[in-house]
Symmetry: C2
Subunit: 213 residues, 2 copies
């Protein structure tokens, strides 16, 4: 049987993007920069939605406070991620956003954002496309996490972001961060990498991993 996926009249495979680099604050509306020091609050649950955000550096934690006084973490945004996109469609924030560490965020006023979407025909579609991409990405990540064995999970992750023949994956973050994305401890990742390398399934050299097998 011939290789599957032989004819791709479309773009190459972009399964997992490591970061949502070139995203919405791309000219539509005035953006502002804000610095938060560790522990500072960006917005609080119940407040009127003032702006949409994108994290430049640092780490922002989104926490929903429940009626019974407890709380749950909804998301931990890392560098170059947008967050609370859904607040564009809500009048008030539905969770708290607070900086775990010193962080820089780019903000765009909600009113301007909505105005841009309403006036520019392509803007709304562009926003939808962007979100659709995130959905695809998040689902792929979720599927990844349902692979139980650590080495297999990492292999799948590597294959998803590898290109070329032989497939080579560029490592653009620390393994510690990658471990968090994979839902493993960093120790488990290192051990799995050691096993994979011992079995000649991967070959590490600096910031790139060559896949075999």
């Amino acid at each position: 049987m011939p290789e599957a996926g032989s004819k791709r009249a479309d773009s190459p495979p972009p399964i997992l993007s490591s970061a949502w680099s070139d995203e919405w604050p791309q000219g539509l509306g005035r953006t502002r920069l804000r610095h938060l020091h560790a522990g500072e609050v960006l917005f609080r649950q119940g407040e009127a939605v003032a702006a949409l955000y994108r994290l430049r550096t640092g780490r922002i934690r989104l926490v929903r406070n429940l009626e019974d006084g407890t709380s749950v973490v909804l998301h931990v945004a890392n560098a170059n991620e947008t967050f609370a996109e859904a607040s564009a469609f809500a009048d008030s924030y539905h969770c708290d956003a607070l900086a775990d560490v010193a962080s820089d965020v780019v903000s765009m006023p909600r009113s301007e954002f909505l105005a841009a979407l309403a006036s520019d025909r392509d803007a709304a579609l562009g926003f939808a496309r962007l979100l659709a991409g995130q959905v695809r990405d998040l689902r792929a990540r979720a599927e990844l996490r349902s692979i139980r064995a650590a080495p297999e999970r990492i292999m799948a992750w590597l294959r998803m972001r590898a290109t070329g023949n032989p497939p080579i994956a560029a490592i653009d973050r620390t393994w510690t961060e990658i471990a968090a994305e994979l839902g493993l401890t960093r120790e488990a990742v290192y051990r799995a990498l050691a096993v994979l390398e011992r079995d000649r399934r991967i070959l590490r050299s600096g910031a790139s991993v060559t896949l075999g097998r």
Copy 2:
């Protein structure tokens, strides 16, 4: 300018939706029904995008075939989920879709969908809102899965979907399905439930769980 999301002044807390019930095929364009028997292919990677889909019953597996001949599962869609939304913005499918079990899907021609988005300004915004909701939801799920201990993971899940005081969560699916969503085996879920009930942290009665602690 049309106030996005102005329908509900500001709804209560809807953190985790169990299913994306009322979604896109809501009048925009003609939809068609198609039945697939187990193992049948809905579309293949590389094919021109003909339609967008929503799964009524069954289970559809989305698989990306890599250049090196291997493949990775991108997503396993369950009843009442839409899938391959991103294909609305692509010319060809980037993965295979095949039915794990006998399934029923609702399809909407891509051309009609795009036409609807282009003509009706609110449609595009509505689609974006829907996707933003899915992003929020998927991120919450991901955060949930990063909770290691099974009982705590389940507690967090229950708290997310509980309402009232005391918080009560309605169980609208089988625990087996919930286990899959939580990234646990059903046995692990039952054991964790037993522990939680023994410690008086939850109280089960039929299709609802009352939370304490």
